[in-house]
């Protein structure tokens, strides 16, 4: 039974207490999965990524520097391995062929062989990226290309099969109008499909586009949004805009061709930790410190589609677009909740302009997983 529900989960969410939650949007259910059956704060989820290419496995990077493998088919954690080296939490996790890549806070990027042995073997490759890394992202088109960026750590694009030097290292913008150096704090990076460009959002509320193909190492485009650090970013399915979220819970869609603000999304009350858009449908899942998973519809009409309370603060989310009879499937979001989700219309064509809060009494019994 756990397997069946695990398979049909649309959004996977990881939490600060180490629980991986699978949220089924059709049936408005959330199921909990833990390694030991008990939540543990040491196993707080810091990074999530899809394991195999067919989205049957999830790699979960935890605060105790272990990477656990979770199978969505069986609904259970299958193995884990320790990934020592460097200090700090995982800032990026990615899977490439038969290896997986981890990057930690202190800037140690390692490539590990992905077998299920518990014993930590030596990493295949190790790179020093620079201290204060906030995000490492893999290029979905080229799995051996990763980008890293952080606080006072400029954006660098690395080719893991190439040399030890970064393929592209961004240059800081010119001094501002007082001739002071503009500080750097890259919080989230996304690769733009179809070209070599990258978009970053910074802790100084800027959104920047870089183009490694051009001779200019400075950002090609820069816009600002709001007054608070932008913490999460995702690309929209349309391909022309990004959605960013800041520490106040404000979500905005920004067109990166011109740098225009297209619109905002309401609803979040706390800092946004992760955003994820569906690859084809105009839906956005957001999770954050206010412990609620929200699904927004980005266009026609723009509004909140669905809300799910997950009692624990959420860290990461992923959506798996699976093909099934269900209309929409979302990749995992890191969510921790066992509540039944409020009843929302089945078809996503329903106008989601108002939050529907008809709560069904009674929580689900937790799905144990061993």
């Amino acid at each position: 039974m756990a397997a069946a529900s695990a398979r049909s989960n649309h959004v996977w969410v990881g939490t600060e207490t180490g629980i991986l939650k699978g949220v089924d949007l059709q049936r408005k259910l959330a199921a909990n999965f833990t390694t030991t059956g008990q939540p543990q704060r040491e196993a707080a989820v810091n990074a999530l990524c899809w394991g195999a290419s067919d989205e049957t496995q999830i790699l979960v990077g935890c605060a105790d520097r272990t990477v656990r493998r979770f199978s969505t088919k069986d609904g259970a954690f299958q193995g884990q391995r320790r990934c020592p080296g460097g200090e700090g939490t995982f800032r990026g996790l990615a899977q490439a062929d038969s290896t997986f890549i981890t990057c930690v806070d202190s800037g140690v990027l390692r490539v590990w062989r992905s077998d299920d042995k518990e014993a930590p073997s030596d990493p295949l490759l190790e790179l020093k990226v620079g201290p204060g890394v906030c995000r490492m992202r893999q290029n979905p088109a080229q799995p051996h290309v990763v980008a890293t960026g952080g606080k006072e750590n400029a954006l660098k694009v690395w080719d893991l099969q190439g040399s030890e030097e970064p393929m592209f290292k961004a240059k800081n913008v010119r001094h501002d109008w007082l001739d002071l150096r503009v500080p750097v704090w890259d919080q989230d990076i996304q690769f733009l499909p179809g070209s070599q460009k990258l978009v970053t959002c910074t802790g100084y509320h800027q959104v920047r586009v870089y183009d490694p193909a051009s001779p200019q190492r400075r950002p090609v485009l820069e816009t600002t949004f709001g007054e608070y650090p932008l913490t999460a970013m995702t690309l929209t399915p349309g391909g022309n805009s990004v959605i960013v979220g800041n520490t106040h819970g404000q979500l905005a869609e920004i067109d990166f061709r011109k740098g225009r603000l297209l619109g905002c999304l309401k609803g979040l009350a706390g800092s946004v930790r992760e955003l994820q858009c569906h690859p084809s449908k105009p839906m956005l899942a957001s999770c954050g410190l206010d412990r609620i998973l929200r699904i927004h519809r980005i266009q026609n009409p723009r509004g909140l589609e669905h809300k799910d309370e997950l009692e624990l603060p959420q860290e990461r989310s992923e959506e798996p677009p699976q093909d099934s009879e269900v209309d929409e499937l979302w990749a995992s979001l890191e969510v921790a909740a066992k509540r039944k989700l409020p009843r929302v219309d089945q078809t996503l064509r329903a106008l989601g302009t108002q939050e529907r809060k008809k709560k069904c009494p009674g929580a689900l019994s937790p799905q144990p997983c061993e």
């Binding site: 207490t17 629980i19 909990n32 008990q38 939540p39 704060r41 802790g203 007054e227 608070y228 650090p229 913490t231 520490t247 106040h248 819970g249 309401k266 609803g267 009350a269 706390g270 800092s271 410190l289 206010d290 412990r291 609620i292 809300k307 309370e309 009692e311 624990l312 603060p313 921790a336 909740a337 066992k338 509540r339 409020p342 809060k357 709560k359 929580a363 937790p366």
Partner: protein, 328 residues
Amino acid sequence: MEEPQEDAVPGDGAIEGGVQPPKATAFPPGFSISEIKNKQRRHLMFTRWKQQQRKEKLAAKKKLKKEREALGDKAPPKPVPKTIDNQRVYDETTVDPNDEEVAYDEATDEFAPYFNRETSPKILITTSDRPHGRTVRLCHQLSTVIPNSHVYYRRGLALKKIIPQCISRDFTDLIVIHEDRKIPNGLILSHLPNGPTAHFKMSSVRLRKEIKRRGKDPTEHVPEIILNNFTTRLGHSIGRMFASLFPHNPQFIGRQVATFHNQRDYIFFRFHRYIFKSEKKVGIQELGPRFTLKLRSLQKGTFDSKYGEYEWVHKPREMDTSRRKFHL
């Protein structure tokens, strides 16, 4: 057909017997009282209509009462009047007492050392820069209410510089009373080692001498705490924050109690001394300052309003749209 009737009887929109608002005929539509141009006549007609309405209402009430008495025990229960509190929109984040996830979360959050009795509170109370008399007096009165608290003058120091010094001196909480135009109007409560920071709006501040019929000054005994009505997850966090200000073991000899009562998202702080006159009867005297708080934001981590991550921010245009929805 417009009939400016103010029907006291709910659901009864039909025409009742008795004098109706004067109309030429029921159909086609006639005039209503509001169309009389002469003010004196209009007023007269309206007074007459109003008296009639009152009479009918009284008659209806009497009839209902008679019917209830006639039915005796079989009478249907009296309908409960609707208030904003009992029409409250059900909040999905209301904490279920049996919820294990929330229980685990609370057992391991930043207040766990306090609730596990590993630390005991030590509070630093200060104000915004250059406080005026009211604020200073409020600080001193608060320090008598909260045991083990120290008042320091804020010499224009930045909070981000004060906080590491407090941590090194083993303070567990920092209270900053913010002042505007000579009256205190804000409160920042920061739990120290790395705990959340809550920012409140403070209103209705009454110092001790402004409280009527108050008792003598509070003694040094550790008071008991009452936390009322903190039901949602956010409410739980705030409630625990208040609880962690006071030492664990209250001294019942002192008979003093501090109450944080949450109603409709406003938190009322009162400080009383109680005495049991008999098994069921209690007498209370209000001591100490009283004020009302409203939560503006809860930030994870110690005070950092620009770069900190917020767990909850009050957004008036999004959250205050319904009169029956509350967040605490």
